[in-house]
Symmetry: C2
Subunit: 364 residues, 2 copies
C-alpha cells in the first residue's frame, strides 16, 4: 500500500520511517527536492497545483495525507474525486484560517480567547477598543512558529501593526495571560474509534515550541481536552491524528489552535508511547486498528533550533534519542529534536533542564 503525502518536511519523514516497518510505501509531493522526507522516500517535485503530478500521485497512492497545513485548496480539489484524502479537507481548510478556526470553536462551544476579524484600519481600531490591550494581531492564513503575528501593547502600536500585516486578512486576539500551555493529541480511525495520548505540557520561546513534557499529569485538564478533541473530531468525521493547543489559565483550558496532522508536541511518542503518533496516523488513515497510546515512562522532547549540537556530545548521554531532520541550518529553523525518556517526571524535568542549558551555552 502506497501512502501519498503532500509536503515532504520532517513530519513526512517521520511518517515514512514509522510506516516502513508496517510494510507501507510512500510517495511525497513537494516544491523542492532534497527535503527531509525526500531523503528517505521517493518524491514528486513541483508545484502543489501541478495537474500532472497530482494525477500521478492519485494514480499511485491508496490514500493521500499531508504533512503541512498550508497545502493549497486547489491541490486537494484536483485530488478529491480520484483518491481518498485523510484527514478530511474541511478540517484542513478550517485550520488554514484562524478566523474559521475561532468560529468552529464558538460553534462547538469550546472556550477560546476573545477575537475579532480585521480587514481595515477601522476594524483594527474597533477590535482594540472592544477587546483591549495587550492583544495580538495575526494573519488569518499562512502563520506558523510565531510568524505573521504582531503584539500590540499600547495604542501607538495600532498603526505599526497595520503597517506590518495590513495587506492580508487579519484577526485580532485578546492576549491571554496564561499560566502555561498544553496540547492534546488524539487519533480517530476510519471506523470512528478514538484514542488520545496523555496531555503534553509545552514551553514556547520566541513563538517556537522549545520543550514538551509528557505525560503531564493533570487529570481534570486531560478529561476536558479529551472532550474538546472528540467534539472537533466528531464534527469533521475526522480520520487521522489531530492536535489542539491550549492555554491553561486558573485551571481552565482555552483552545488556541488546532493542527489536523501529527504535531511537534507529539514527537516524544516515538520512544515515549507504546505506539507513536506517526504510526497511529498511518494506522488510522489506512483503516488499521489504532495502536495503544499509553506512555512508556516520562518523556521530555527538546527541539533543536537554528544549529545542531555535535552528535558525539549529545549521544554520549545515555538514553538521549536524536532525530536529525537532514535540513540545512538556518536561524530559527527546526533542525531536529531529542527525546529523553526517564522513569519519573522529576528526572525527565531535571535532565531536560540540564540539556537545554547545555544546548544554549553551546549555541552562543
Amino acid at each position: 500500500m502506497t501512502i501519498g503525502v503532500l509536503g515532504a518536511g520532517q513530519l513526512g519523514r517521520m511518517l515514512a520511517l514509522a510506516g516502513y516497518p508496517l510494510g507501507m510505501d510512500f510517495l511525497f509531493l513537494d516544491q523542492a527536492a532534497g527535503t527531509p522526507a525526500h531523503q528517505v522516500a521517493p518524491s514528486l517535485i513541483g508545484p502543489f497545483t501541478d495537474a500532472a503530478l497530482l494525477g500521478d500521485l492519485a494514480r499511485r497512492c491508496e490514500v493521500v495525507t499531508f504533512d503541512w497545513e498550508n497545502v493549497p485548496a486547489a491541490a486537494l480539489d484536483a485530488l478529491d474525486s480520484r483518491v481518498r484524502i485523510a484527514p478530511p479537507r474541511a478540517a484542513l481548510s478550517t485550520a488554514q484560517d484562524r478566523l474559521l478556526e475561532k468560529e468552529l470553536f464558538a460553534t462547538l462551544r469550546i472556550r477560546t480567547n476573545r477575537n475579532q476579524a480585521v480587514d481595515s484600519p477601522a476594524d483594527l481600531a474597533r477590535a482594540v477598543r472592544t477587546i483591549g490591550l495587550p492583544g495580538v494581531l495575526k494573519t488569518r492564513r499562512l502563520g506558523y512558529d510565531g510568524k505573521g503575528q504582531f503584539v500590540l501593547r499600547k495604542p501607538a502600536d495600532v498603526d505599526a501593526a497595520w503597517q506590518a500585516l495590513g495587506n492580508a486578512p487579519l484577526l485580532y486576539e485578546e492576549m491571554v495571560p496564561f499560566d502555561y500551555e498544553v496540547s492534546a493529541i488524539g487519533v480517530r480511525g476510519l471506523d470512528g474509534r478514538f484514542a488520545m495520548y496523555p496531555l503534553n505540557r509545552n514551553l514556547h520561546e520566541d513563538g517556537i515550541l522549545r520543550l514538551t513534557r509528557a505525560p503531564w499529569k493533570a487529570p481534570r485538564l486531560e478529561a476536558a481536552a479529551r472532550r474538546v478533541l472528540r467534539r472537533v473530531m466528531q464534527h469533521f468525521d475526522y480520520v487521522g491524528v489531530l492536535a489542539i493547543e491550549f492555554f491553561v489559565r486558573r485551571g481552565q483550558l482555552l483552545a488556541n489552535e488546532m493542527a489536523p496532522r501529527v504535531h511537534n508536541s507529539g514527537h516524544w511518542t516515538i520512544e515515549g508511547a507504546v505506539t507513536s503518533q506517526f504510526e497511529n496516523h498511518l494506522r488510522a488513515i489506512t483503516g488499521l486498528p489504532l495502536g495503544d497510546t499509553a506512555p512508556r515512562g516520562h518523556s521530555a522532547m527538546i527541539n533543536l533550533i537554528g544549529t545542531l549540537p555535535r552528535r558525539t556530545a549529545l549521544l554520549a548521554e545515555p538514553g538521549v534519542y536524536l532525530h536529525d531532520y537532514g535540513k540545512q541550518a538556518r536561524v530559527g529553523r527546526k533542525l531536529g529534536h531529542v527525546t529523553i525518556v526517564e522513569t519519573t517526571g522529576r528526572r525527565a524535568d531535571l535532565r531536560a533542564a540540564r540539556l537545554m542549558r547545555r544546548l544554549k551555552t553551546r549555541s552562543t
Copy 2:
C-alpha cells in the same frame, strides 16, 4: 555521512531506518533491485565484485559495512585500500567458514562441540568413528537457516550425507543434546569500548529462528557469554555489533557460531532496549559513543516465516510491533517479525505463546 552497506536485505533495511534519525545517509550494493533495503534507501545494483560499482561505493561512503555474511572476499579486497570497512574483514572471513570459526574458538579456549574437517568419504568415515553418532555434516561455507546441513543418526546415513553435500568442503560436528539455546549480542566502538545486551533465549524450528525472549535472566551464563564476546572482539580488534550463538547444556555454554553483524535474535532491541542493535552498530562503526544496552521491559520477538499474517488481526492486539520486510512470500522465508514488550517475563512468555499458536493456526 554516508554509510555503505554490502547486501540489502532486512538487516540493511533496519540499519537504514535506525540511521536516518541520526542524520546518516545510506548506499547499498546488492545483486538484485527491490530488496528490503532498496525500498527505503538508494542501492547500486549489480554483482558484488563489479569494480565500477565498488569504486562508486568507496567514493561515496565514509565507511562500509555488510548486512550479509557471504559477501565475497574479492569485494572486500577491492574496497580495502579505499574506504574503511567495519566490522573487520578477518572476523567476516572467519564467520564465513565453519572450520575457521571452530579453530578460532579453540585458539581462544572457547568451549564448542567436537568437530572435524571433512574433505573425502574417508575423512567422513574417520570423523564419524572419532566423534560418534548422531552428528551433523555441514558445508564449511554458505550455510544459513539450517541450509547445507545433514543429520547423521546411523552408520547407513554416512553415504547419503556424502552424496548430499560431498561436493564442497565440509565439517562433521558432534550433535549436542542441549537443554536450550541462547545468544549474546555485543558491540564494540572504534575506541575499544564494549557493551553487551542482556542475554537472549532462542527457539529454533526447522533450523530457523522462531522466537527470542529477552532479557533471559541467567546471570552466570550472561557473565560467561560476556567473557566469550570480549575475547572474540579483542582478538579481531572488532568494531560494530557481534552476535554469538550458544547451546546451553547442564548450565554451561557451548559456542555454536558467530555472526559479525546485527543479528535476528537482537531484533527485539528496537523496542525492547534503550538503544537498538542497529543504532549501536551504526554508532560503533562511525565512531560515535555507544548507546545504552539496558532493556525496556521484557520482550518476545517472533519471526514471521513463509506467510505474513493479516496486519489488521495482528495490530488489533495492543503493543504488538510489526516489522514487515517488504519481501515476496516464499516457503521458509523470513518475511518479517513482531515484537511484544511486556512488564514481566511471564507475561511476555504467555503472550508470545498465544501469538505463536494463532500464527500457526492461520498459516495452515
